[in-house]
Symmetry: C2
Subunit: 304 residues, 2 copies
């Protein structure tokens, strides 16, 4: 049986093999993905982001519990951009150690790849497409690190959860300009902490400053205590509502297209990166000495 | 007289014109920059980043005062990536309204450009090169927004100041994994606030977690009150020491090369972006229907 056939029959080892091929940049992996792309995707891609220590992994673990009780098939893709900014164990490793490694309805995979400029690598995006084709109901995507990965996750996920916890200096004030656009659902985890109310008030105030327009999605603020399994149904419900909103407003299709567009760009970036690695020193010298403009250097890379 | 000649004679209008040409993506601008690149640069490129409200603009304004007292020529480049994440007036506008618009030794310019994936546009990087060629002693670069711009500024600036202020929820805890690598100098502004000590302690603790190696630069933490001109000499001194460190460890040359490499990549990204804009819908359809892989789509863009 071919890898494609095994993949389509739901052989988890075939899925793992396919992702490994993609990760290695193999042509076989690309060909496989091309064939599988024709599978209809029913997956919701759920991005999970937030500060270290906010309880992202416990929360994802708890959400998997809710989803499994509904017999949904779940994938978790943990992307470590291996940037100078990353730190700590990645989500996949932490969840793997929990209770899901025996459950056939839960697939967990970590990828340690990054694109140029600190972004998500093409391989990570292709892996999401593989997971979609495999037929998962929900794909959780988490990236490690600050800044770029949080912004990337918005471009990739249908729904992005921003996980915060009180008393952590979460920087709502500091980052409110950016935070409001990132989140589709705010999660205040560890909400039994006495300062949870203040955090919720701050998020609300920041949100009001962002002036969503009529018909825009207004991100709900959900309080949870992941370790005590509190607030999870409400959170799951909020994710469902956001997905319905995307479907009804045709934004789900837009989101899918954006993901593909991002994948093309990432693929181009990878290629440029490879070419640049070989020619870089020569090109930089040529630019510094005035022989070449940076646009001409860019041209050189294209023409190769 | 040609624009190049006027530029080399120190005509500020020629500089402005040159930046405008670059901003418009004109070939004349590129040709000009190519010629000017041969000028030796003595400029220190100083990145200023930090949360909104931390007092970045007052601090930059105050630092300009210190630099001008030493008769140094100063440029300020404020880059608004016009991303969905930006907000607030940009630095250039705020400083312009202060006291420097009459001083010929201070040049202030805002650029509202962005590259693909939210990064700095090639034009911004080329503008920095123009400012270097013009002969400024110090070039302050500030970007608006969160995440990507903060990471980009590190790639562009010789020295990056991370400005924080107490009682702002600066997210030292939350973002410490990323914050430590961003800063060459930590600035605790508004340090007459009672909680400044706590913030300083937090930064110190976070820094100790990052385990710099022997011979690495250990970012100093400088307390300032920009509005009262306190701590500025110490900060200026810290910037000088970092620059000496870069020179002595050959990292200044590496930094310059990294800037050029970044400029090439940005230029490539711009070009791809333009091509993708035309072909995008067609390519996305082809990928979704399994006619094409994203790598093949990337190829198509190259071959055009």
């Amino acid at each position: 049986m071919t890898l494609t056939e095994r993949f389509l029959q739901g052989d988890e080892r075939a899925l793992s093999r396919a992702i490994s091929l993609i990760e290695a940049g193999s042509k076989d992996g690309e060909r496989l993905l091309k064939k599988l792309r024709q599978q209809e995707s029913k997956a919701r891609v759920i991005g999970v982001t937030g500060s270290p220590g906010s309880g992202k992994s416990s929360l994802t673990d708890a959400l998997i519990g809710v989803a499994r009780a509904q017999n949904r098939k779940i994938a978790v893709l943990a992307i470590d951009p291996s940037s100078p900014f990353s730190g700590g164990a990645i989500l996949g490793d932490r969840i793997r150690m929990m209770r899901w490694h025996q459950d056939e309805g839960v697939y967990i995979r970590s990828m340690a790849t990054r694109g140029h400029l600190g972004g998500l690598a093409a391989a990570s995006l292709q892996a999401i497409s593989l997971l979609e084709a495999y037929g998962f109901d929900d794909i959780f995507v988490e990236t490690v690190g600050v800044g770029q990965s949080e912004i990337d996750i918005v471009q990739v996920a249908d729904s992005t959860l921003l996980v915060m916890s009180p008393g952590q200096g979460d920087g709502v004030q500091a980052f409110k300009a950016g935070i409001m656009e990132i989140a589709d659902v705010f999660v205040i985890n560890k909400s039994d902490n006495p300062s949870a109310h203040r955090l919720k008030r701050e998020v609300k105030a920041a949100m009001e400053l962002s002036h969503p327009e009529e018909g825009d999605w207004w991100p709900p603020i959900v309080s949870t205590i992941a370790t005590k399994r509190e607030g999870l149904e409400e959170l799951w419900d909020a994710i469902g509502k956001h997905h319905d909103y995307l479907k009804e407003s045709d934004k789900l299709i837009e989101q899918r297209k954006q993901r593909i567009s991002f994948e093309i760009s990432a693929s181009v970036n990878n290629r440029i990166r490879q070419r640049l690695a070989v020619e870089e020193d020569k090109l930089i010298e040529a630019i510094l000495s005035g022989e070449m403009s940076s646009a001409e250097a860019a041209n050189t890379l294209f023409e190769k």
